[in-house]
Amino acid sequence: MRWETVIGLEIHAQLDTRSKIFSGASTDFGADANRQASAVDLGMPGVLPVLNREAVQCAIKFGLATSAEIGRRSVFARKNYFYPDLPKGYQISQLDHPIVGAGEVLVTLDDGARKAIRLTRAHLEEDAGKSLHEDFQGLSGIDLNRAGTPLLEIVSEPDMRSASEAVAYARTVHALVRYIGICDGNMQEGSFRVDANVSVRLAGESALGTRTEIKNVNSFRFLERAINLEVQRQIETLEDGGAVVQETRLYDADLDETRSMRSKEEANDYRYFPDPDLLPVVVTQADIDAVAERLPELPEPRRQRFVDTLGVTDGDAALLVLERDLADYFEAAVAAAGTDGAQSVANWLLNDLRARLDKSDLALAACPVTAVELGALVRRIADNTISGKIAKQVVDVIWEDGGSVDAVIEAKGLVQITDTGAIETLVDDAIDQFPDQVEAYRGGKDKVLGFLVGKVMQASKGKANPGTVNQMLRDKLSRD
């Protein structure tokens, strides 16, 4: 490959606080326009911002979760520009002294390799409002419900070398902010927005090429698509002898292209200066300790623990820790099943149950099979009370009617037949009934054994232990 791609991401995570970052107005999504905008959010004359401490705690949480430096004295600055949905004519943000400094996020790439992506910083800022151009003939409407919503802008170093690495990083950050409970991650509602800085350079060069910024991509699929398109465009431009222009570009999913929004020359001079209405935010060690106490075990150490002490495969462990409630459910089920059943629990959870949940469009919290019951199910398979196939029937019943694993096994008479005498009778019957197949098997057609096992299982209504049936058939057919 002659060209190397260099990508850095800026992620805006909307913090899951009850009220806005500088006012007491609610942050709930979906209210009628301007119903959640106080005088402060409207930038009315004389009103003043008061910092929401909860937003600071969210930022500290993120800093701790990414092994970042926590700014002990961070400063809010004003970023000045005119826009109709920016009520004060400036956005309160952080420039020189952000709340979170350099950190790191460990990302699992598609091939299973792990890569550390460095974070430059993460800073607090307020969101702007929204301009509405539909519904207003020749006019624009302004909805300031979103104005003043707290955002954490997470800025990475240009450490990613492909669109798929960028997506893996974005997904990891997405999972992390949800995991530590600071952002709901809802991309449709704009709670998690990604800007990608993309440049290319000849392989082996150390200087960065001219970058373009792709703004506000609202899905991981589009992110990958947009970056790949942009990389291709830049390479073609350079190979044609042209130059990449530093500019902001927009990804249009309908046309599947990126196009220029504004060039560097048109960019604003934001005239940043420290906001005189807000004092510097001083964070003490005690503040950090208090947040650390409320931080859950983080995904990466938890993943490692699942592999090391529970024997779960690398791939499954990585999937389990993507969502905190999934990992919590898993651990609760393992507690009921016993550590030996951990991989089996993982299989059931990641395959059978997840497929059922998706199909029914249910959240894990609403899963009819509780973690304790999944644990019981795995235990009953392990102690040969039921087969895996019967277990699926048990889950079917619980999914429809509820109940516990043991109660369903009991009520439906699903206990596996492990009595060899009873199984022997059924095996002998099968051998008698299907002489042709017996002949074929003895003639070397091994596949026929499956047919005979199936018939025995059918005769037992699925309750015979398939392992025992299998073994017994082999023994009998070879002995004679």
Binding site: G46, R271, L279
Partner: protein
């Protein structure tokens, strides 16, 4: 009659708050047009408040300022009552909230008679920059009352109200108080809430009061000051008992107080006749037991340039919200967004405001930020250090308020720098955040002269007590303009 006198008369039942209110509203109606010191009076609101005050007094539930009339500078937001800030931009703006200062005084029982005229967005030293026309000085209607709280000071001097709220960003309480012969105090930065005070320069703005004498200032400030959780720069510290601090102790109440006269305050720019009046104050204070020491504020000459970087820089940002989109003035038939912004702002703001927005925008621009804004903040630190050093030698600083007495209307309008020089003695207190008080100390050519007292952070009690003792001994503060006796 002073505010304190009215308080006692109301308590004694000599007259009711409604009678007092009606009398003052009548005087305002008869005389206000000579001075243009109010943007509007609010008789209905005033009568309702006065009736409520009388009822509360009868019920024994009246607040400490029950039924006392005041005016509010028109940048303090008053709920449902137009708050124009002296600007066309806000000529029809009725805020849905009260400024904390207004709410606190309302709670204490005051009656709001009127909103005081002011330089547009508090930018000015002469009160000629109001959209509602200039205010005239009651001592000489051809002269300015000082700015930007000129409406407040002129109204008190003309006895249209006994006290008025005011704000001081670079001297806007002290200089008009001096020009109009009344007493005014700018408290420590953060002592009085800025919530609901339309911002000019956030790090310098401070609300305060002008009244007839120091005792009246103490009475009002007592109920204006205090921590406000809605203002992050407000300071969470109990308010001193200012009235108790006025109580005299013997005939040498200023025993042990060291008064510093900075050499830099008596420079060539100062009218020597004013210098003489200020030095005479020192003599009086010595008679009250104080000692006079020499101090220095070596960076005084840098205060003016630093101020005229910081204040416009903050103003340019604070005034961005006036864009014609949400409230206030909007131009007719804008053809696009840029047209909406530029014409609304061009029509809504006056010349001085535009000048400062431009200066401030320039000072914050990429490439100039370090040379101007950052440098000015460094100067600010030096000036604060000068004061800290001075407080190791003295307890209070005494100096003039302004280099001249009230000048003629239009005299400096074409020369902004000459106008800005008027603030040379006042604005370093804003840069350092220290409190300052202006009080009448004599006359030059028939016009009032003011003396300025500055003190360390939170020394309001000492400033008020010192002025009060001086006023117990002298009669300058009792003089009234002939036309308004």
């Amino acid at each position: 009659m002073t505010l304190t006198g009215m308080r006692d008369a109301l308590a004694a039942g000599d007259f009711s708050s409604v009678e007092l209110t009606d009398a003052l509203l009548e005087r305002i109606a008869a005389r206000e047009s000579e001075l243009n010191c109010f943007v509007r009076s609010c008789p209905e609101r005033a009568r309702a408040q006065a009736e409520a005050a009388d009822a509360a007094r009868a019920a024994g539930t009246g607040g400490p300022l029950c039924g006392l009339p005041v005016a509010h500078k028109d940048l303090f937001c008053t709920r449902d009552l137009i708050t124009s800030c002296g600007s066309r931009m806000l000529a029809d703006f009725a805020p849905p909230y009260d400024a904390t200062v207004v709410a606190k005084l309302d709670t204490a029982g005051t009656v709001t008679l009127a909103k005081a005229n002011m330089d547009e967005f508090a930018m000015g030293s002469s009160n000629e920059n109001s959209f509602f026309g200039p205010v005239r000085n009651p001592w000489d209607p051809d002269r300015v009352p000082g700015g930007s709280s000129g409406g407040s000071a002129a109204a008190v001097a003309a006895q249209l109200v006994p006290a008025a709220t005011a704000t001081d960003t670079g001297g806007s309480i002290r200089q008009p108080a001096a020009f109009c012969g009344v007493t005014g105090i700018k408290p420590t930065y953060g002592r009085v809430s800025r919530f609901g005070m339309v911002a000019f320069a956030s790090s310098l703005d401070q609300g305060g009061v002008v009244a007839r004498d120091a005792a009246d200032c103490a009475l009002v400030l007592q109920h204006m000051a205090g921590f406000d959780p809605r203002d992050s720069t407000s300071i969470d510290r109990p308010v001193d008992d200012y009235l108790a601090a006025l109580a005299a102790t013997g005939d040498k109440p200023l025993e042990g107080v060291r008064i510093g006269l900075p050499e830099e305050y008596f420079s060539v720019e100062l009218d020597p006749a004013i210098g003489d009046r200020v030095v005479a104050v020192a003599t009086e204070l010595e008679a009250l037991g104080a000692t006079r020491v020499s101090v220095s504020l070596p960076h005084l000459s840098l205060a003016l340039p630093a101020y005229y970087v910081v204040a416009p820089a903050e103003a340019s940002s604070n005034l961005s919200r006036f864009d014609g989109v949400r409230y206030g003035h909007r131009c007719d038939d804008p053809k696009d967004l840029l047209d909406l912004y530029t014409r609304s702002r061009a029509e809504g703001f006056g010349e001085e405001v535009k000048r400062r927005i431009l200066v401030g925008t320039y000072a914050l621009s990429a490439g100039y930020f370090d040379a101007y804004y950052v440098k000015a903040q460094k100067v600010r630190r030096l000036i604060a250090n000068d004061f800290s050093e001075a407080w190791t030698h003295c307890d209070l600083i005494l100096g003039p308020v302004a280099p001249s007495t009230a000048f003629r209307l239009g005299e400096k309008s074409d020369d902004p720098v000459a106008m800005y020089l008027n603030d040379i003695y006042t604005l370093s207190a804003n840069l350092a955040g220290v409190p300052g008080l202006a009080m009448p100390c004599g006359f030059v050519d028939g016009l009032p002269v003011g003396a300025q007292l500055l003190g360390p952070h939170f020394s309001e009690s000492r400033l008020l007590a010192t002025a009060h003792h001086y006023q117990q001994r002298t009669a300058w503060h009792l003089e009234r303009p002939a036309a308004f006796r």
